[in-house]
Symmetry: C2
Subunit: 382 residues, 2 copies
């Protein structure tokens, strides 16, 4: 890894279209063109895909989950192996979350304190403790290009008082993370995370507190946690425009193609979600003509490619009939081809968004996909 300390972390906006931004972010492993979608490589592998598949799909940056990597193979091992990039043979940028989201999903097996959060491994029940300092150290061992602060992700439906207290804790943890990881140490950037549930004043309070800390970017956490789409979009459009303009904005764990376009229209630059890979394994595929449930009998004899506009190996090589056969026969190849296609679709969507912003036609692109993925056409499922 060689990088220029003078440009590291630089975020340059080269075009805007309404609130949508076209930019680029300099990381230690290369420049990321935004808006961008980041495939999720939970355990050091984007499920069913190898680095060559990700390259072919046009992936610029992938995500690793600190919680999972800490438990297996262990961040100590990753450090000895020269970090996750070298271990997984992925030499482009990596973003790691803080592990907070996973730990707070383990509702019954965690204990929260000012210092951090105690939890039990979902593998073997063993006890572990994540403090802000600990998750910085783990992410240092992983060697990701973009690290995330430890935050408390409050459950959907949390009341005002709990949410208010929680966001203050998240701010205190954010300061401790910054202190534990001085700016650009090891060439690793650090992003803060906005919380505040579904209370606009609390979201603003969180943002004001975080903005005083010297982060390389800011994320919106705590959305897509069970709320309705109108609720999510309402908060997204309220908070995104208030976020610092000169650093990247990252909407965590979101979402569908329409969610991503909505986020871009609100001024968000970065997205990640397990949706394309998880849905691929369930046979739900995203195409330029809408969603396809490849297991459906209507595709049994369908000689046409899954998506005639898609450049991926699956679409170039096979018919829907064959993809359906692989899915029905539960062939392992089905997982790879479906995942490759969906990841290609999401990355193509991000590329189209970048081009549309440059050309001042982002609203038209979004309207096009709103039509393609209209609930009447896709059965209303995500």
């Amino acid at each position: 890894m060689t990088y220029d300390p003078a440009t590291l972390g630089q975020f340059t906006i080269t075009a805007t279209d309404g609130a949508a931004r076209r930019g680029s972010l300099v990381t230690a492993h290369g420049v990321v063109q935004t808006p961008i979608f980041m495939p999720v490589g939970t355990q050091g592998s984007v499920k069913a895909l190898a680095p060559d598949d990700l390259d072919a799909a046009g992936a610029q940056i992938i995500l690793g989950n600190t919680y999972h990597l800490y438990l297996r193979p262990g961040d100590d091992l990753l450090a000895r192996k020269g970090g996750l990039h070298r271990f997984a043979s992925w030499n482009k940028p990596i973003l790691t979350d803080s592990g907070g989201f996973q730990v707070f999903s383990l509702k019954d097996i965690r204990k929260l304190s000012e210092d951090g959060v105690e939890f039990r491994s979902h593998h073997d029940g063993s006890k572990h403790f994540f403090s802000p300092e600990k998750v910085m150290s783990i992410q240092n061992n992983i060697g990701s290009d973009i690290m995330m602060v430890l935050d408390e992700c409050v459950a959907y439906g949390a009341d005002y008082d709990y949410t208010a207290k929680s966001l203050e804790l998240t701010t205190r943890w954010a300061r401790r993370c910054r202190q534990a990881h001085p700016r650009h140490k090891n060439g690793q950037l650090l992003f803060g995370i906005n919380q505040g549930g579904f209370f606009k004043d609390l979201r603003e309070r969180s943002l004001a507190q975080l903005a005083e800390i010297d982060f390389d970017g800011f994320a919106i956490g705590g959305l897509s946690v069970g709320e309705s789409i109108p609720e999510m979009y309402d908060m997204l459009h309220h908070i995104a425009p208030l976020m610092p303009r000169d650093t990247p904005r990252y909407l965590m764990g979101v979402g569908t193609p329409l969610d991503i376009l909505e986020g871009i229209s609100a001024g968000v630059d970065m997205f990640d979600c397990v949706l394309p890979t998880r849905n691929a394994r369930n046979g739900t595929l995203y195409t330029s003509q809408g969603k396809v449930n490849i297991r459906r009998a209507e595709y049994r004899e369908d000689d046409s490619p899954l998506d005639p506009l898609c450049p991926c190996y699956a679409c170039r090589t096979f018919s829907k009939a064959y993809l359906r056969h692989l899915y029905v026969a539960q062939e392992l190849l089905s997982y790879r081809l479906n995942s490759l296609h969906n990841i290609t679709f999401f990355l193509t969507l991000a590329r189209q968004a970048r081009e549309a912003i440059e050309q001042g036609r982002f609203a038209a692109l979004k309207a096009h996909y709103q039509d393609v993925f209209a609930p009447a056409k896709d059965g209303g499922k995500p």
Copy 2:
């Protein structure tokens, strides 16, 4: 598919080394260099591998299972889709078995008669009937380059009288297959199958009867069905040299690298086995240094490639430590990388055998691998 009827089915031996033969077989989808190993694509997919992986591994010909393809997606569908080659986007040769071996494995749900064999689907229990004519028709629909006759594969331990009666039935079925599929119809070759259990005189009788029928090649069936390795090798060395010299010899369902080398030394030209792909999924990998159980803790920190002599993507790209992590974490990528490696190993072994025969050093190659895979080194497991 375009082929020259004048050369179709031509088998040319270009070198010999002891009983080992270096040859080439002309099929409608290309020339197969022998000796060759054929990866098994049970349901129209070599498990976890795409055609591009098979190309990269050096596969010349793959096998499809008539029983499985008949049940799913159905040979009628395959016929409508232009055959298995087009359906699966594999434009090199394909060999199909007759389905007999699978049906005779369904011990409790089959009924044997002169006309054929009745069985129930392992999917849904539905009743089906395979006659010699039916399996020819199915394989015509599949469009394989090499078809196999329907045979009764007698269980290990079958007595002399049963085996004698059975081989006569197999011969009568072989004649009916030849009649139902005239020579080179649709450009499809047809192989006979030698049976006779573990009785040398019955094996010879079967061979004498089959040799009177005009087949494009002859297979040894009914080995590797539960007997000891010395028993198998004894029968192999007895029968292979008695088979017609001017057509290819195929040892069905065999086997380990040492079994394949033993077969080649007895004059066999073609092999297939699920071993490399099945073992790959269990984490057992074949390398130029012997077998590797990638799940073992000793590989946790091993930075070296799985096999420094292997040209496959897995060996070129990843460490044993990462391959172990993928296996332990049950990542889908593990299946692909392990399968790609094992198939590459088996195809490299076949290529090395071809070169060694050409250069008159096959015995040395076999001795080398007997040392590499000596039971003391690999724990004695297959």
